[in-house]
């Protein structure tokens, strides 16, 4: 079965330190992978995606993610965390079994990131 796992419910980092939010996936075929962020009292925002090409993809707000096919992972990273990065982060993968242009995504449970000043 296709799935996305975010093994950590919460990640705590100090401001200025690097951060990593983990995501692993299980899909058939080539994965299309996404990260979204949900700030408090705001809607979900697209951060970045991997479709093909370089394994390291760069996105909004200084975030990047590394696609690792052998480990079936797509961890989100940032070299230096900001307090304003505190939010809920969701990893998602294309449902490769969805028909036609349905564009269905399979979502992880989310990881709450807290950046401490």
């Amino acid at each position: 079965a296709q799935s996305v796992a975010q093994p950590e419910d919460q990640v705590n980092v100090a401001e200025g330190n690097p951060l990593t939010v983990k995501c692993t996936y299980s899909v058939s075929g080539n994965p299309y992978l996404f990260w979204y962020v949900q700030y408090p009292n705001r809607g979900l925002q697209f951060l970045l995606k991997y479709i093909t090409g370089d394994n390291l993809v760069k996105g909004s707000y200084g975030f990047e993610a590394e696609f690792n096919k052998s480990q079936t992972s797509f961890h989100l990273k940032k070299p230096s965390a900001l307090v304003s990065d505190s939010a809920l982060y969701f990893c998602a993968v294309r449902d490769s079994k969805s028909a036609g242009n349905n564009r269905k995504l399979i979502w992880g449970l989310g990881t709450s990131l807290a950046v401490n000043p």
Partner: protein, 115 residues
């Protein structure tokens, strides 16, 4: 990117009643999606709404409970019918992004509490 608004932003409703949530997009889009985000849980796709055709519902969701309208390319509504406390959730609409396959833009959500 598309700008999406939802009404109402939140509501408290009594069980047995119905609530219609509106989703307005500032540009014409083919596909709109309705999600549910229950407390402490991830997003669950309710249905996909294309203009001019019946909505496509995911497993576990039925039209009688969650009727959807899509009268034009910028607007959709989701009705939560005959509500029970289990329907308490955040309801989100989203649209396909212009940045490529599967990229989506989301509305701010409607926080529904059923008492």
């Amino acid at each position: 990117s598309a700008v999406i608004s939802q009404k109402p932003s939140r509501d408290i409703c009594q069980r047995g009643t119905s609530l219609t949530i509106q989703c307005q997009v500032d540009s014409q889009v083919t596909m709109m999606f309705w999600y549910r985000q229950q407390p402490g849980q991830s997003l669950t796709l309710i249905a996909t709404a294309n203009q001019g055709s019946e909505a496509t519902y995911e497993s576990g969701f039925v039209i009688d409970k969650f009727p959807i309208s899509r009268p034009n390319l910028t607007f959709s509504t989701l009705t939560v019918s005959n509500m029970s406390p289990e329907d308490s959730s955040i309801y989100l609409c989203s649209v396909g992004g212009s940045g490529g396959p599967y990229e989506q833009y989301f509305g701010p959500g409607t926080r529904l509490t059923v008492t």
